[in-house]
Symmetry: C2
Subunit: 321 residues, 2 copies
């Protein structure tokens, strides 16, 4: 490429400082440190995620979509914590072949998501790597003091609810790999939609939450495990998009992909039955559909049922190694 | 290797959860999020650094030293901010050939530094990479509300002081590469010593600080630039270790390495002359030597002098790209 290549300081000034302009404690990214002001009314919720080219996104992915994915996987966890997005640190390990055009598009992707989610860059690091592009985001959210949500806290008798639809992203990955054809599903894989509007509204309503990133059965199972409970999930109640339903009806073996595939970035919630109405009201305010799909009971383990009959599941979720 | 390889959750439980035991908001690393409690008396200081095998440390480096370096480069920035270390997030991108033995030694290295610096793991991410080992630390420190130090704020007439000795690490890198022989210098390169005891004591004494990570002239120059001042540095006052002095006397061309080489992790400070005594008292309490080596004046740019005579400098600091 014919790009002139700026040095680290110039690169930060040109592409990243504009993204940190509205965060006073970032000092225009001219200081090494960011200062986060004391706030006695909120706890800070922190999440770090690393995505690697060829592992967590396709090597030829558009730079604005890589930026969006890096941010949104963290925002999804913050939503599960009940937190409102606040600021983030970005570490970028750039392969030698980076270009200004690429970096400009990446920074514009960050900027668009900053406006969408009300979040702002407050610092980070930019380094060279002989390996693949590696993006680490540490995102900060705020939650009213001592009100943060986590996986632990579900009670026997709570219902398992999920937001949105399940399985689109995992089926979308098959589309991206050329094994299915469906543009809507592919977009769900490439562009996660974290439920940041719903998360903060769940405080005082749900007992426990997780975001569905590793796969529905795995992540809902983590709520059960952290809460020392068993969980029964009814497959016929799992909400599917029209596109996903059509695909799965054509090939029922794809249920494994839907329930274990991950990348949904929906919220799984443990909800006491008496708060059902409050949850529906919160979901309506956030403009997100929610569906009851199971129940937490005493005991351990996850049981999938189909029309009430127990079935065995081969694959619970994404295997990281 | 004959290691049995645990999955991500088992790996976190075995190696990293013990490091987060004393941080209540980490939930034993079973939750995705960390919760940092509200604290009305302190601002939070945040720094992210990424180190990549073969770029920021030697590919054959011992795992405990990689762990120490990843943490300490951040702690050095926190010290420059006047902050006391508090907690950190760790993201580890592991090449396929990782072993349990390697990971155990890496975690022990983190544990030793947690005890040394009073810091604790509060969350993070572990992913697979087809590239080199990449370690990102986001470190949190605490500083009394609105008292954080930064590069900006030096005044004309302030003296430039530095802690410890300069150039050992850059000469040590030449040792590590086989171009010099000196074990003490090599250790200064491989094992940074961040000035965490001095940093918090500088509040109320100094006008501005930076840690010396990219090279003395570059980092002190950043203070001048951020403070809109010029800076004169007198080479004969720059404190050298006995080993460094011997090496540089043998080959004066190595002055360029000493003044521009980086990785010192000392603190550069802009100190009003009336606070000299306060600085010396603080340094004595922190058991670190400090030396005056220059002066900030009106104007712009960095001028190096040798016995009062201006000289040209070819290389100001580490070039990241």
């Amino acid at each position: 490429m014919a790009d002139r290549r700026p040095g680290q300081f110039e690169l930060i000034a040109r592409y990243f400082a504009p993204l940190a302009k509205s965060f006073p404690g970032a000092g225009g990214l001219k200081s090494d440190n960011a200062f986060l002001s004391a706030d006695a009314r909120h706890d800070l919720v922190v999440k770090t995620d690393t995505i690697v080219a060829g592992v967590h996104f396709l090597p030829d992915e558009r730079p604005d979509r890589i930026a969006a994915k890096a941010l949104r996987v963290c925002l999804s966890d913050l939503a599960a914590g009940g937190a409102t997005p606040y600021a983030y640190q970005l570490s970028l390990a750039l392969p030698a072949r980076w270009t200004e055009r690429w970096l400009g598009a990446f920074a514009r992707g960050l900027g668009a998501d900053q406006r969408r989610y009300g979040i702002v860059l407050c610092g980070g690091d930019t380094v060279a790597t002989p390996g693949p592009l590696t993006v680490t985001v540490t995102a900060f959210g705020r939650v009213p003091r001592r009100k943060g949500l986590s996986r632990a806290g579900a009670k026997a008798g709570d219902e398992l609810w999920v937001s949105g639809t399940i399985g689109d992203a995992a089926l979308g990955l098959l589309v991206a790999r050329g094994r299915l054809a469906n543009a809507a599903l592919e977009k769900r894989y490439r562009v996660p939609q974290p439920r940041t509007k719903l998360g903060p509204r769940l405080i005082g309503i749900v007992h426990a939450t997780a975001d569905v990133s590793d796969g529905l059965l795995a992540d809902a199972g983590h709520i059960a495990e952290a809460s020392r409970l068993a969980l029964v999930v009814e497959r016929e109640q799992v909400p599917l998009s029209r596109a996903a339903r059509r695909v799965v009806e054509g090939d029922p073996s794809l249920w494994t992909t839907v329930l274990g595939g991950g990348d949904d970035y929906e919220l799984a919630m443990a909800v006491p039955p008496r708060r059902r109405q409050a949850l529906l009201t919160a979901a309506r305010a956030a403009k997100i559909k929610v569906s009851p799909i199971g129940i937490f009971t005493t005991g351990r383990g996850v049981q999938l049922t189909v029309a009430g009959r127990g079935v065995r599941t081969e694959r619970m979720g994404y295997v990281h190694f």
